[in-house]
């Protein structure tokens, strides 16, 4: 079993801190690295893959450092976010070249096996620059997996894929995880992580905000207070009526007009509001959930 270990890892560019004091261990199975854009996920993956030197701390794969150590690629595969592939080669030529560079004993059969795994055998003899985005992505996975690495790192692997391709990629990652590989993939989309991995590492602003079982983190996310901006024909009277509602945790009158309402349960509050307004004879003019961005969900996790 090969583990990826990060110990007190930080990475900064000048005075911008991209990754801030992260310690984590990745074991076999699929782990999702979740976080909004700019959270430092790619920087983390690049450090794990030996393409960035940590400013502080250590990154090891199976006990060996990844920086300036090409030998680590015997047990590690990387699918980077940039889609570039040698478009003048066919998928078979490309994956075969990768197998040869790994100095595998039987590169041709390794290439065929990897292409079968990603279901690319039919189009394997066409030039890669004639492929769709999803096909290129699968070809890159085949190339990264041709030497059957114990650890596979994927940076935003579902970007640009259609739903069917996504489903296929998810199944593939599942099966690789079940076969005892250590798989880490990054994503900024909650639902993707939900469908693929049981374990997640959540990054916000370069820090590890949450780590562990997905369901526990999801519960934290759904139970967080929701904030709504409300405007009505009589804000003060509506505030009085709302404070009696069980799902409402707090109401604030805004100086410029309108209310800010904090609710503990999204569904109960949005059902109760029109009922209360109707009962009081108040006309609702605006209802806006004001913290629904992914950033706010992640920020909440950071505070939790």
């Amino acid at each position: 079993m090969t583990t990826v270990e990060l110990a007190n890892v930080s990475r900064w560019y000048g005075n911008v801190v991209a990754v801030n004091d992260i310690t984590m261990t990745l074991d076999t199975g699929v782990t999702g690295l979740l976080g909004p854009n700019g959270a430092g996920k790619t920087t983390m993956l690049h450090m794990m893959a030996g393409f960035l030197n940590p400013s502080r701390g250590t990154v090891t794969v199976g006990g060996a450092p990844t920086w300036r150590n090409p030998d680590v690629y015997r047990r590690l595969g990387l699918v980077s976010e940039r889609e570039a592939v040698h478009g003048f080669l066919s998928a078979y030529e490309f994956v075969l070249a990768c197998a040869k560079m790994h100095k595998l004993r039987d590169p041709a059969s390794a290439a065929r096996r990897a292409l079968e795994l990603v279901e690319m055998t039919e189009a394997q003899d066409r030039r890669i620059d004639t492929y769709s985005k999803g096909m290129r992505q699968r070809t890159r996975v085949a190339a990264a997996f041709v030497h059957d690495p114990e650890v596979l790192l994927l940076d935003e692997p579902f970007n640009g894929m259609d739903p069917r391709q996504r489903m296929h990629m998810m199944d593939l990652l599942h099966s690789l995880g079940d076969r005892g590989h250590t798989i880490l993939f990054s994503s900024h989309i909650l639902e993707e992580v939900e469908q693929v991995s049981g374990t997640v590492q959540v990054m916000v602003a370069g820090r590890l905000a949450a780590s562990g079982d997905y369901r526990r983190i999801r519960r934290l996310m759904t139970n967080r207070p929701h904030v709504f901006a409300v405007q009505s024909s009589d804000d003060r009277r509506l505030a009085v009526a709302l404070i009696g509602e069980r799902s409402v945790r707090g109401v604030e009158l805004e100086p410029a007009g309108g209310l800010t309402v904090r609710a503990s349960d999204y569904g109960s509050f949005t059902r109760a509001l029109p009922r209360i307004a109707l009962g009081e004879g108040i006309r609702l003019r605006k209802l806006l959930p004001s913290d629904e961005s992914l950033e706010s969900v992640f920020s909440y996790l950071l505070e939790a």
């Binding site: 983390m44 940039r82 990768c98």
Partner: protein, 236 residues
């Protein structure tokens, strides 16, 4: 041929920039043929065509196109990552790419220079120019390959070296010639086939030593640079 060299060669000849390799050698041969056909005295056209065009433009510009193409293009489009994520010593990757660059540059420049040299003077001058082109190809390729790992604008910096350092300063400031690959090549050619057409301005030991310094130093520095190749993250 190693897999890295195979991919590099296919990449080089699969890109449109390979077409840039054709016009300059063709122009060199065409000019020499025209001068010869009209019986122009070689003393009048030999120096401008062989040195002014051949050694000062064709050789360095082709070395620049090829030398930055073998690695710089893969750095630019991100395909280099597929080669770097293999358990290959970085030395092997650099040597394979340098081998392709030197081979393509040497063949593309030595042939037209040989033809032009024969037309201008003798087979001996043609052979001397071909050897000079091979030596120049080694030094220029190592320099430009290193540049493509040091900067995101290797072609621009390479042009500055060719046009400003060698072309402009090399003419007026004699000290700059010690760091001019063009001057090493002229000296080597002049020693192998002494004629009035070429005038070496650095000594032969300097030419040989400095060519080796450029070729070996550039290669060693490129290997070290590739070992620490970094990919910037989204937050950089």
């Amino acid at each position: 041929m190693s897999t890295v060299a195979y991919i590099t060669t296919r990449g080089l000849f699969g890109r449109r920039r390979v077409l840039l390799l054709l016009p300059l050698p063709a122009l060199l041969i065409a000019l020499a043929l025209i001068c010869r056909a009209y019986d122009v005295n070689p003393a009048d056209w030999g120096t401008p065509v062989l040195v002014g065009l051949g050694l000062a433009v064709v050789l360095p510009v082709i070395a620049l196109i090829v030398g930055t193409g073998v690695l710089g293009s893969e750095v630019d489009d991100g395909t280099l990552v597929h080669i770097l994520t293999k358990p290959l010593p970085r030395r092997d990757i650099v040597l394979a790419k340098l081998g392709v660059a030197v081979g393509v540059t040497a063949v593309t420049t030595a042939v037209p220079l040989f033809v032009a040299g024969v037309l201008a003077d003798s087979v001996r001058l043609g052979l001397a120019l071909a050897i000079g082109a091979a030596v120049g190809a080694c030094a220029y390729s190592a320099l430009f390959l290193l540049l493509s790992l040091l900067t995101r604008r290797p072609v621009l910096l390479g042009l500055v070296y060719i046009l400003v350092w060698e072309g402009l300063l090399g003419r007026f400031v004699s000290g700059t010639r010690v760091l001019s690959i063009e001057q090493y090549v002229i000296t080597i050619v002049d020693r192998i086939a002494p004629t009035d057409l070429l005038n070496g301005r650095v000594s032969l030991p300097v030419a040989i030593t400095m060519s080796a310094v450029f070729a070996i130093g550039g290669t060693v520095a490129a290997v070290d640079r590739l070992r620490s190749f970094s990919m910037a993250g989204e937050t950089s």
